[in-house]
Structure formats: structure tokens, C-alpha cells
């Protein structure tokens, strides 16, 4: 029997040289006369350790990392193929604190299995959810998802079961399941990792959704910036179809975005799928009533759909038992930016921001103090240290003038200039606005100009008042979250880091 080593084929691992590590291992094994099988698994999700090499030994899987191709000869000489000692040896990766502290329901298989092996998928609990769902009526499946308390993981937090119930009740004949994999928020990569590390899970989640609402066609809309995820999902769909659990009454395909951030907004995404400019639609009608091609459509985020197989396999209570307040289950939180331990940390809701940033992420990789944390992507608020007691929960973040969005946590050190971050938020909104509504299209450009005037010291007090008024208009008057939420980073920067806007006396002067 051949020896198995695992070298992630994940985009983040390849970006630091995983392909070269895989080649070097194969070469070294050939030279040593060892029959080696290199499995290209997904990343386990702690990117600091990439390239993480794991060796199957009689004592279990032994990890080494971060490995560079140049380290391979030394590692092999030290007995890597037998799990031998070396400064890069990590031992059992699952026992490392970063992993031991997680509750992996959605990411249970990520990094463990060969992502495109159906036998691996089955051996590790795959398809149990779909089998359980098919034994139930559509209404029963919807009831379970409702009972689980699952809320949309894209950011809006709308109860998934209620969305499904609406589509189930809508008239056919055609209905669609659309997976929003347009994960454009900076600081988020859980969708990418899931699609690369465990693509069958998303296929299974969509097949369950199709059974629950009576849909016959599904689309996974993936942003073009994720070429690895696109290839992986396409391959997984083909394998699932060949295996017979797709293509009988429900089939699906991958569609690729084209570099428009706003297409992460669900109605803009539907427009894009239909072949048009990604312009936001006014609601109502809701996509659940008239969505893709005018038909009833479930549109859910990757993480929402990927949470469903667990709920069906293990029961709504098993999921609902985790969590905090009205935020039930687990959230794959993404720790990014200037952090020691960057990656996906799946945990029940309720950890505080401080625990996430200081304990789990380990503070700044640069060694500098943490000054600000942006939670929830480009449309999320900047939090100062004095709000680090905020629990990770939809309602708690809203109460503090922020949002959890898609679960991205971007840590900035003390060199950050929050006035420039506020300006960037407006600039990004101006660049990415679909142009349909005036507060977003014009307001964002005016926002950049006003922030420039404040920083330059031109009529500061008056211009701060203008900026606050502008943010109000954008928040209340925009059609979607792009214009509507851009005020979050801007206002939080102003509220918590006023000193960056040209002197601590600005607010006093404004009053």
C-alpha cells in the first residue's frame, strides 16, 4: 500500500508555493524508492501554517508547517515520511489550540478529505443530510430548517426556513435554487474555502433545498476572482451527476461573475445571471416570489446552504443547541489582516470580539498593537478596543452601530489611518455602485470629497456635519446594502477615531 501525504491544493496554499512542495515531495519519494500518493486536500483553514504537509502514519496524521519546497530535502532526511522529529513538526494538527477550540459543523471535513473523492465524502458523513431529507416531505424539510434557527450567513441574517417556506408555497412549474458565491467582502474567504475543501457539501445543501421547495434547476454564481473554487465546484457537480444524485429532477451549474462587487447583492446577482448589468432591483417583488427569470427563487449564501446537511442529518435541535440569543448554530468566522493566526474559525455565536482578536487570532503578526478591527467586510464598522466586549451575534453588533455581515474580521495595527479608511469606503462604493439609485451613485463621490476637505482642515465642523447628513441620506435612501451600509465604516471611523480626522478638537468645534 502506498504512503499518503496531504498537501493542500487550496488557492491560499498554492499562493505560497504548495504546488512546488507537492512536486518536491514526489521527487524525494521517488529517489527514496517510496510509493507515495500525494492527496491535494483543501486547507484546514489556518493559513499561517500553509503549506501544511500531513503524513499518514500508523500513529495518525502528523503535520509539518509552514513548509517551503526548499525545506523538503531536510524534512525527508529527518524522517518526514515516518512522522519523524523536525523543527517544523506540528504533530496532530487537530489538537492545535486553533483547531481544538473550534466547533466544526459546516467545516467538519475541510482539510481532512480529498475534496473530489465521493468515497471520502461518504466515509466522513456526507450525503446523510440529503438521504434524511428525501425521506421527508418538502414541508417537513422546511420545518426542520425553520426549527434549527438558521439565519442567512451572507450578512442579512434573514431566517433561511422562512425564505424556503415562501418559495415552497409559490406556484411552479419552474423554481430555482441560486447559491450566492460572490464573496466579495475583503476579509472573507469561508465560501472560497468551503467550495475548494468540501464542494460536495454545497451540492448536497442545494439538492436538499431543491427537494424542500420543488426546484428543478440550481446555479452557483461564483466570482471570477476565485478560479480554483470555480474549477472545484464544476468538477464536483459533474461527479455528483455521474453518481446519480444530481440530474434526476434537479440539476445545477456554475456561473462565473465578472468583477462587480455589487453582484453579491441578491437582486443584482439575479440580473447578472440573466445576462444583464448587475443593477439592483427594487423589492418587492421578493426573489422568493419573482426571482430568476421571473420564477420563485431561493437565493442563499454558500454558508447557509452548507449548514443545511448537518441540520437534516443530526436534527434541528443539534444545530439550535449552539449559539447565542437569536443567533443559533455556528458561524465560520474569518480572521484576517494583521493577525498571527489567520484563517477560518468556526464557533458557536457568542464569543466576544476581544477573544477572537486577542486570544484566537493572537493579535498582530507585525507585533504592533491592535488599533481597529473592521467586522463584516467593506460595509462593516471599525471597532476600537473599548468595544471588544461585543459578543459575536447579529443583534449585539447592530446595537453597537455595526454588523457581522459574512463574518469577516480584519485586524489593523496602530499605523492605520481611519480617515483614510473612511475615505476608501466611500471611494470603493463610488467605484462599485451599480448606479441605479442617487444616494449611492452620487453620495459616495461627494463623501470622498467631503472627507478630503475635513482632513485638509477646510471648515471642519461644517464639513463633519455635512458628512453625517450625507451618511444619513445614504443609509436611509439607498436601494441596497452597498449605498445603505457604506456609512457604517465611515461613521464608526468618525465616532471612534475622530483624532484621525485632523485633531481631537474637531467634534467639539462641530457642536
Amino acid at each position: 500500500m502506498s504512503l499518503r501525504v496531504f498537501v493542500p491544493g487550496d488557492m491560499a496554499a498554492v499562493a505560497v508555493g504548495a504546488d512546488r512542495v507537492a512536486t518536491a515531495l514526489a521527487t524525494a519519494a521517488r529517489a527514496a524508492g517510496i510509493d507515495l500518493e500525494v492527496v491535494r486536500n483543501g486547507s484546514r483553514g489556518l493559513f499561517t501554517l500553509e503549506t501544511l504537509v500531513e503524513v499518514d502514519t500508523p500513529q495518525g496524521r502528523i503535520g509539518y508547517g509552514p513548509v517551503d519546497a526548499a525545506d523538503v530535502p531536510g524534512l525527508v532526511a529527518a524522517g518526514l515520511f515516518e512522522g519523524g522529529p523536525h523543527p517544523l513538526r506540528l504533530g496532530d494538527v487537530a489538537a492545535l489550540p486553533f483547531f481544538a477550540r473550534q466547533t466544526r459543523l459546516t467545516f467538519a471535513r475541510a482539510g481532512l478529505t480529498d475534496p473530489l473523492s465521493l468515497p471520502d465524502y461518504r466515509t466522513h458523513g456526507g450525503l446523510k443530510g440529503l438521504e434524511a431529507a428525501l425521506a421527508l416531505t418538502p414541508a417537513e424539510v422546511v420545518a426542520r430548517v425553520k426549527a434549527s434557527g438558521l439565519r442567512g450567513r451572507g450578512g442579512a441574517g434573514f431566517p433561511t426556513g422562512i425564505k424556503w417556506e415562501t418559495v415552497l408555497a409559490a406556484a411552479g412549474p419552474h423554481k430555482y435554487i441560486v447559491c450566492n458565491a460572490d464573496e466579495g467582502d475583503s476579509g472573507t474567504f469561508a465560501d472560497r474555502l468551503l467550495m475548494e475543501a468540501d464542494p460536495f457539501l454545497l451540492v448536497e445543501g442545494m439538492a436538499i433545498a431543491a427537494h424542500a421547495v420543488g426546484a428543478d434547476q440550481g446555479y452557483v454564481y461564483i466570482r471570477s476572482e476565485y478560479p480554483f473554487a470555480i474549477a472545484q465546484m464544476q468538477a464536483a457537480i459533474d461527479l455528483a451527476r455521474a453518481d446519480g444524485w444530481l440530474g434526476r429532477g434537479f440539476d445545477m451549474e456554475v456561473r462565473v461573475g465578472a468583477g462587480a462587487y455589487v453582484c453579491g447583492e441578491e437582486t443584482a446577482l439575479l440580473e447578472s445571471l440573466e445576462g444583464r448589468r448587475g443593477q439592483v432591483r427594487a423589492k418587492p417583488p421578493l426573489p422568493a416570489h419573482r426571482g430568476l427569470f421571473g420564477r420563485p427563487t431561493v437565493i442563499n449564501n454558500v454558508l447557509s446552504l452548507a449548514a443545511v446537511p448537518f441540520i437534516l442529518a443530526e436534527g434541528a435541535d443539534a444545530y439550535q443547541d449552539y449559539g447565542f440569543g437569536r443567533s443559533r448554530g455556528t458561524m465560520p468566522i474569518q480572521l484576517a489582516g494583521d493577525v498571527v493566526n489567520g484563517g477560518v474559525f468556526e464557533a458557536p455565536f457568542g464569543l466576544t470580539l476581544g477573544e477572537l482578536v486577542d486570544d484566537i487570532a493572537g493579535g498582530c503578526a507585525s507585533g504592533r498593537p491592535v488599533r481597529a478591527v473592521q467586522v463584516g467586510g467593506p460595509l462593516g464598522a471599525y471597532f476600537p478596543r473599548r468595544l471588544f466586549d461585543t459578543p459575536f451575534d447579529y443583534e449585539a453588533f447592530t446595537a453597537r452601530g455595526g454588523l457581522i455581515g459574512h463574518g469577516g474580521v480584519v485586524v489593523f495595527n496602530d499605523t492605520v489611518d481611519l480617515a483614510q479608511q473612511a475615505r476608501f469606503a466611500m471611494e470603493f462604493c463610488a467605484a462599485e455602485s451599480c448606479g441605479k439609485c442617487t444616494p449611492c451613485r452620487i453620495g459616495s463621490t461627494r463623501g470622498v470629497e467631503v472627507i478630503d476637505r475635513i482632513v485638509a482642515g477646510e471648515a471642519r465642523a461644517a464639513n463633519i456635519a455635512v458628512l453625517e447628513d450625507l451618511c444619513d441620506t445614504m443609509k436611509l435612501g439607498s436601494l441596497c446594502a452597498l449605498g445603505g451600509f457604506t456609512p457604517y465604516p465611515v461613521m464608526s471611523a468618525l465616532d471612534h477615531f475622530l483624532e484621525d480626522f485632523g485633531g481631537a478638537d474637531v467634534r467639539r468645534a462641530a457642536e
Binding site: M11, A12, V14, A15, V16, F47, T48, E50, E183, G184, D185, S186, G187, T188, F189, D191, R192, L193, S224, E225, Y226, P227, F228, R255, V256, G257, A258, G259, A260, Y261, S272, L273, E274, G275, R276, R277, G278, F293, Q334, L335, A336, G337, D338, V339, G342, G343, A365, Q374, P378, G408, V410, V411, F412, N413, V416, Q421, F424, F428, E432
Partner: protein, 158 residues
């Protein structure tokens, strides 16, 4: 209308149109494939795509110009897309951009006069824990600082 050098491109366009024409929402998949085959979506492809999909030229032009990915002129021979979004900002992408600009003489967003190299911005590759991140001729590169950045700069100046 058709002159010899364009015949291969014309044939490629016809093949792609035939492949996608009857799919629901065909325009984006078709434009991606056209760009993949021809390097860009040339202006003279627009009326033919519009006719095949029963759209107006304005609708097709509108889509081509709305999405950042679609281009109407061929790309530079080498393209570096550097992520400038928040998580990479927190990891020093502006310093990386400054070094790349100094080495290549190009600001982010510029292409060299001989079309040898473009330095383009991109907003998030999902490599947010390993920034600064970039796509170099479509290959992902992360932790783009120190020796890895030196190596890229040396490679680009060859």
C-alpha cells in the same frame, strides 16, 4: 467586411455563439469565453453577439462596460493584479504597490507603452490572512513582501 487576418477570430466567435446561444442567461458565459479565446471582447464582436442573442447592441455594450473583467483591447503580455482591499491594506499592500511601481515605472492601473506589462488593482482574492496577495498572469501569489516580492520584481524586469 471580413478580411483575412480576422477569419480565425470570426470562426471562433461563431463557434462560441453556437455553443451558448440557447442557454438561459447566455451573455456572461459567452463574453467570458470570447475573451478567453480572443484576449478581449473586440468592438466588432458586439453587433454579432447582440444579433445572435436577440439583444440590442446597447445592451451588450452596456454589459461589456459594466463589468470590470471585460476588456475591449488585448491585455498586456504580463499582468499583475495586486489586491488593494482592506485586509491586504492591513498587511501592507500599499508598500508592496510602491515597490512594484518603483521597479516597473508603472502606477497601479497603468500599462507599459510597449504593452509588455500591466499593473492592475483587484479587490479581494480571498487570501485575506496571507496578504499582500496578487494574481501574476492568473497564478495566485500571497505574502507578497520580502524575498517573494524581490523574486517577482526580478522576474518582471527580465
Amino acid at each position: 467586411m471580413t478580411h483575412p487576418p480576422d477569419r480565425a477570430a470570426d470562426d471562433a466567435l461563431d463557434t462560441l455563439i453556437a455553443r451558448h446561444q440557447n442557454r438561459p442567461g447566455a451573455l456572461l458565459p459567452l463574453l467570458h469565453d470570447v475573451q478567453h479565446a480572443l484576449g478581449c471582447v473586440p468592438a466588432d464582436a458586439v453587433p454579432r453577439i447582440a444579433a445572435a442573442l436577440n439583444l440590442s447592441r446597447a445592451e451588450v455594450h452596456g454589459v461589456v462596460t459594466f463589468y470590470a473583467d471585460f476588456r475591449t483591447t488585448p491585455p498586456a503580455r504580463r499582468v499583475v493584479k495586486l489586491c488593494l482591499a482592506e485586509a491586504c491594506q492591513a498587511r501592507g499592500c500599499h508598500a508592496t504597490a510602491a515597490r512594484l511601481s518603483a521597479a516597473t515605472g508603472l502606477a497601479v492601473g497603468e500599462t507599459s507603452a510597449d504593452n509588455a506589462l500591466s499593473l492592475e488593482p483587484i479587490y479581494c482574492l480571498g487570501l485575506c490572512a496571507s496578504g499582500p496577495a496578487a494574481l501574476v498572469d492568473d497564478a495566485p501569489v500571497a505574502r507578497l513582501e520580502g524575498p517573494r516580492l524581490d523574486a517577482l520584481i526580478a522576474e518582471l524586469s527580465r
